[in-house]
Symmetry: D3
Subunit: 255 residues, 6 copies
């Protein structure tokens, strides 16, 4: 059994790999959320799963867990908003508690380090809270565990961003459905991207606050917050390679 | 876009398919749980996803949602117990609340009927409670919605069971990792089943009660509650065909 | 003080009996739920209380706690449904948490083994979850405790079932308000059963799934899921004797 | 069927009595809590059940529901404290949520007025919160319901208190296990009171604050907060008659 | 830095003061609640903050934490009711959990004793529950901590009450917006009291039970439950001096 | 009564101001958190309270509510971390629920628009979730309400930032205890800032991920994430004026 995916193993394989606590478990956490007219609803799941697999295959102590498919509510200024058809999200405390229990289960197997690989901007605070509460509970029982929380776009450095966005970079929040995600998806599986449907548009512009209930008029009609037109599979390959290499430099050995 | 999978659609496709409330959304709910030495840990996810796809392809008003991968805690008498390496489960109220929010999100899109297709015996009570609370909340607001709760094994009739188990059938609870699941998995993807590792054994025998914390000595060492040795891809095909045909007879039209 | 009921003791008696951890506390858990035209609404409370008393009187290390009167929501296929007048049920997590606290309180007194004696089919999953979470919490603190979970009908063996149901046995779920419960109630207190009101009917027949909100048309008009007509006090005596003897064989000594 | 107890009815009886919303349901809420060396642990259940029955029998639109047996944690200054053997209590939010669901179930039957008859001092705030949240939820749906919250000792007027306590009355909190409760229990069922074990003592005296964890040294060794020695069945009859008459004057008709 | 207020310190000051566990932290807990026509909405915050400061300045091991501004729902018989404009309250479990976390944070700093100084009658049960659960959690981990729960009016003795209320004292519950609170506020800051707007009235009179939803007709139109007319700054000074002296006698040294 | 502070009003004033729904309520939400050696622990409370007052005084339909003093857990990369002495924070769901209830209370008074003015970076996701859930609940009941969520630093435009940080701006997260907050505090109340204790340092530098439990070694020893040395009261005045003017342009009229 050479798969890096936990789901492919039987329990005896899994035990052999994990019993001594030498493995770190990567849990991809995504969302089912609109990403414009050209990307599938599970874009935020596909990308972290792909990166997790690539990362695990570059090392010898990482296993990839089944993903958390449904994530926290899409917000207007980073995902277009929770009112889009197909955007299918859960509330914050529900995501936090579900992930808490999943992580706890992996720690009970004897694993001591987990990596949450986040593919959906809005998840971050709730993943952090789940990780904080869980590691605190273990600390109180005198068991040392660690949870790392990664959002993949944080592994792209300034130089690459300048190269990818020669006309200026508007920030990760506006990359929803834009060049970054579209390029990566083109690289991973061109067939899942319908570039002919991609809508060109100016980057979204928002007032310096949020309003609830969210106002659909604030969001570009296409659902993307910046234009995906400049995306390409080549850029996607560059991003993925860069991102994985950077992750390997941080997580390629057991600390 | 002819895929039956929600995850393959973009939000415009999804809206076109669902806007008039004509579609029913099938949500497969599984578990990551040991199934003996020969089956992968995601057996309870793979099977309902496969059946949901088959069911959707036989009809014109069913779409398949991304699965809930992590389910309720494995119990000794139906899944071997939550202490097995690789068995990775969440608590009951956490599953209930996660599923509640996911279902609620699909109803907000304008869908009016959902089908929970359960692949893990222990999930049932918590799925029922989520469905009951959610439909009650919609009723209080005067919105008529319906949630159907199916466990796939309930769609096999007596005649088929007698044919599959000529020496007598010990009940669905003991089919954990046995002929039923193994045959279906052989049919779906032979490569994921390692029959050469399958352990033959008598059906598990339990006292007429449960104990907590669960006692590992109650469970056969292999983790299966009955022997998978008699499983075959042919039986799997028979089961799947029978099961899907029976589901179609119930859910092939909109009621 | 020779009563086996905790509620009859004062705290000094109770301390004398329990201080050394030698006693096991039986907690009857029932429901207030319709059982047809002929049985009182607290049938599911009366029966486990009676059996708990009988079991405690046969041993010297069992005490009977006050019952949990209100249980989990009646389901259509096992209790007729939560919409019947007089069916008065609580949600699953609420029952789980209430029972969790009650059990925790008995453990704090120094007791180390508890027996949940369930009288209501639908309670089972939530009692299991309460027991699992509680014993896990004690394990984490290094305190060894045990909770046994019993549904009384599981203590009747095949031979007795064949004797009681010579024309075939349709399963415990359909015994709601049928021969089993009616006979036991006739045995415990004939005056509480109004056999002249009992409604004869075929066993209920359900599709292989559930729907929410529940559909009252699925349920026999009487509320029972099988006919109570063949019930008798003699059968009740047989059932109770058999059940208690079997429980004593398992719980008559401290393990 | 002339019983005032819901638990004695079958669902058809219950429906006939309650269908038009003419009945009010009294729910006794007690506790399992030490009451000195001479009173049983369920004193706080027995008393409100007795008063509820008496009240219902004096009117024609009151039914008595099965009691809530386990109440909120005993506090040092009103019940001796939660550390006594036999004191078996649940946390506040758990009691609140359990009672919320029970009340909600009675309202779903079509009843529109509920009476919580409290027998345990410490329950009061949590019963109030459950009633407040529940009636608010119904108000939001435009359904007018009412919940009355009664602690029985509040129905004794100044004159009676002076008569019962000629040497001065120290307040209801110190009546835990004292003349009030002991007299009532002697009146209800003399056999359940062991006056020969009753411990004479000065009323308890506390500092003007509470401390957590509670300090057992603050509590009289007997567990009662005032002496029960002056109790008698005659006083109990007087109290019960007075209390019931006062309740009837308030709840004897439908408002 | 000689301030007794935590909020005035920087973290280095705070660490120097608290590192050895020698300090007790006083947390004032109030409410935003109507107090008649003459007192500001934050009366229940101002008073415990003032008393906490005075207490801390009389000792050398007490620090005053920032207050909890929003408290539990005003009740008709002690605060006029939650329906008054300006009365801005939270539910019981929410207050309990918020305070739980705040107290836990102070204990994590190394402090071992906390004092909850309550200024709002209705808070008491929920503060007690928070303190009970928190100290229990620390006990289970073997860490000895203490939480004291004080309502300031409990530090006034009988003699002072007789002096303040020569015509008889109706109980603390009716002191809402009356002589007690008004006098203290006049003493603390005369400018915040508008005595010319104070409404004279008889003490409120209530039936011996509560009803939910609360009935505004039960409450005096002014919102106070007794008349504030006899209030004076002199009485306020007397009350505060007396109260602080009594608190110092109990909490002026570390026990 | 000309105060803009809710807490200064009596309920009759408050009703007169708010009865017609013409007022918007600003709720400052802060934190008790270390801000280096030179700033007090309540910096994140003082600043939004000051800005709320200034904003309210510039308009005629804004009132300032009492602040939420205790906020969400300080994170290493934006606040130094929750392990600093004096940093006193609550968990995410607890903050969310407390704020939910507070906002709900203000809406019950008849107010229809609320403004959450956030002073603590880490609060944002939990405030958004509270606002989303609350406005959703009102929408379901057909009541139109709005909650605006503002973090004050978002009201400073690029030009001002360039002016304030001539050597480059490292992002708001690193402004914890730096020039921004220190300057504002100097402007508000110079006496509360101890510039002589301010520690000069390079901006903090973090890896592209988080770890739990947080690692204190990641944080500059002083607790600030950038140097406050360049702060001045003049810059503070500029920031406050700019920020308030920008807020007024957005919230100076009722939309």
């Amino acid at each position: 059994m050479n798969s890096v995916f936990v789901e492919d193993m039987d329990w005896v394989n899994y035990r052999e790999r994990t019993y001594d606590g030498s493995q770190r478990i990567i849990i991809p956490v995504g969302a089912i959320e609109q990403h414009g007219h050209h990307l599938p609803l599970n874009t935020d799941v596909v990308i972290p799963c792909h990166l997790a697999k690539a990362l695990a295959e570059e090392t010898d102590n990482l296993l990839v867990a089944p993903a958390i498919n449904y994530g926290y509510k899409s917000q207007v200024q980073s995902g277009g908003g929770n009112f889009f058809p197909g955007t299918t999200c859960v509330s914050g405390s529900v995501l936090e508690n579900y992930l808490y229990d999943v992580m706890d289960a992996y720690l009970r197997h004897g694993n001591r380090e987990l990596i949450l690989l986040n593919g959906h901007f809005e998840n971050a605070a709730f993943l952090a809270e789940a990780a904080d509460r869980l590691t605190e509970a273990y600390s109180q029982r005198g068991v040392r565990v660690r949870v790392y929380l990664l959002s993949y776009w944080d592994f792209l450095d300034e130089a690459l961003i300048s190269e990818l966005f020669p006309d200026g970079f508007a920030g990760w929040q506006l990359e929803h459905g834009g060049v970054l995600e579209t390029s990566i998806m083109l690289h991973i599986d061109t067939a899942r991207v319908k570039m002919q449907r991609a809508v060109d548009s100016e980057p979204a512009s928002f007032p310096p606050y949020n309003v609830f209930p969210p106002d659909p008029d604030w969001v570009p009609a296409s659902g993307t917050l910046s234009s995906p037109i400049a995306a390409s599979a080549e850029k996607g390959a560059l991003i993925v390679d860069h991102c994985v290499a950077n992750m390997v430099s941080h997580f390629g050995y057991f600390r």
